[in-house]
């Protein structure tokens, strides 16, 4: 399964991230995870949201430069060595990771690791073959990031 990540161009200055989150909040779009990569004066805000297509539409309407990118959201175990199993596999196949971030689903149980790679389809097949589960946007939307009740 392939998920969609929202990438937003932003100048590297105060208020740019706030401008994005303000729109998403107003549109009641939920953000699952975020990373920002910056160059000297500009950067890209990467967001995993529950409704990427609608998010892209509202942000574009607001004049922002937005792109949808294919990423792999891989379910891994939240325990020592959980991520290592995944990265060793990817490394062995000589697949380059361009961007990655993760978030915990259930403490000490499950986590999601999001990776951007050069060959998404090939990587997806490889991961499925080795028993990893990848989530698409719908699956990501359905899950509750935290079981708050446990805390």
């Amino acid at each position: 399964m392939i998920a969609n990540q929202l990438s937003i161009f932003a100048e590297n200055k105060p208020g740019r991230l706030a401008a994005v989150t303000k729109i998403l909040a107003k549109e009641k779009i939920n953000i699952r995870a975020t990373t920002i990569s910056t160059s000297d004066t500009f950067g890209v805000i990467n967001l995993l949201v529950d409704d990427p297509k609608r998010a892209m539409a509202v942000l574009t309407k607001a004049g922002m430069m937005v792109s949808l990118r294919e990423v792999l959201a891989v379910l891994i175990e939240d325990k020592p060595g959980g991520l290592d199993r995944l990265t060793q596999l990817v490394a062995k196949e000589n697949i380059n990771v361009n961007n990655a971030y993760g978030f915990v689903l259930e403490s000490s149980e499950k986590a999601i690791f999001v990776v951007e790679v050069d060959q998404t389809k090939k990587t997806e097949a490889l991961l499925e073959k080795h028993g990893f589960r990848t989530l698409d946007t719908e699956a990501l939307s359905a899950i509750e990031p935290f079981h708050y009740m446990k805390y």
Partner: protein, 432 residues
Amino acid sequence: MYWDEREETVEQARLQETQMEGLRETLRRAQGSSYYRDLFKDRRLQIDDIRKLADIEMLPLTTKDDLREHWPWGFVAVAREELIRMHSSSGTTGRATVIFHTANDIKAWTHLVARSMYMTGMRRGDVFQNMMTYGLFTGGLGFHYGAEEIGALVIPAGAGNSKRQIQLICDFGTTFIHIIPSYALYLSTVFDEMHVDPRKDTKLKAAFIGAEPHSEKMRRTIEDLYGFKAYNSYGLSEMNGPGVAFECPCQNGLHIWEDQFLVEIIDPLTGKPLADGQEGELVMTTLKREGMPLIRYRTKDLTRIIPGPCDCGRTHRRIERIKGRTDDMMIIKGVNIFPIQIEKRLMEIPGVGTNFLVLLDREGYDDYMNVQVEVKREFFTGDLKQLEKLRRRIVEELKSDILITPRVDLVAPDSLPKTEGKAVRVIDNRKD
């Protein structure tokens, strides 16, 4: 005190007689060029119609575009074999304008530069270090020849290589330098780094600063840093180059050498002549040039004639330091740049959007150009590396055209002010 007392202190009335003779000679010579021959024929102009200096208003103005359109030989008024030198403007726009000189032209030019330098105190035996680019740019050879004429020892150092410049100043006891003002400020920081105090550890007496506009305050700063006098030099390649107008020790305006140039100030919009004291566009006619006489050439530089005589005794009138330009040309680190050059380059690069903005700033003693460029919406894939690659490509492409390295920022589409009507694509934040 004077390189040529008779010429420099000639009475205005006598000067005007000489100018009238020079003007008639220029009109006669100009007929040797295809451009002016055709122009005079089209306008049914007869040399005899020009009886007094004020009649010059009857003659059409000449522009840089005319020079470009009739490039390269259209303005040459002598046989090709008579030409011994060519120069080109420091601008780098597509087709640069070229100026040709005969042996007499080089002599006349050299004479003016020598007169200018002598006026500030340079004498035989002085050591003159020329920190300007040699080559097509007139600031190199123009000053070089003038200093040799005086009998100074010339160090043709050329531009850049700051540590070597300072080493030369120390090793050979340089007394006069020719330098771009922004570079003079920068060089003072290198003096610091090398623990050399230009005020105490050198024999420097004065600097000629030119090739880019600068304020009175900037000049005073340079003088304080170095502990010498800095004299403002004005010139343009179309009128030879340096040695057109130069400051005397009074440092109150630049004497414009009226024995070789007929000077007018016009309203840049209407083309009507303005009286002394009023600010407008400087328009010049060569009075002695053989190879490429120019009539009523629009310099696009804004200034005014300072009314009244100068305390130094020279009768040639003075212009005020250049206030600005009538076009959108910008000068940074001594290089002339037009926004259209940047626009043309940018539009050829895939991924570049519709608008851009040029910001000129000064950080410490260093001028730099910052170009903000909108990215094309379709180009963006969310990949930061791709953007960084685009940014680097823009830097490289611009650098190859405008010769200085700009800072480039990528910005979102439609985030820059739209350019409607007259394009305001340059913001000059350089103060002083």
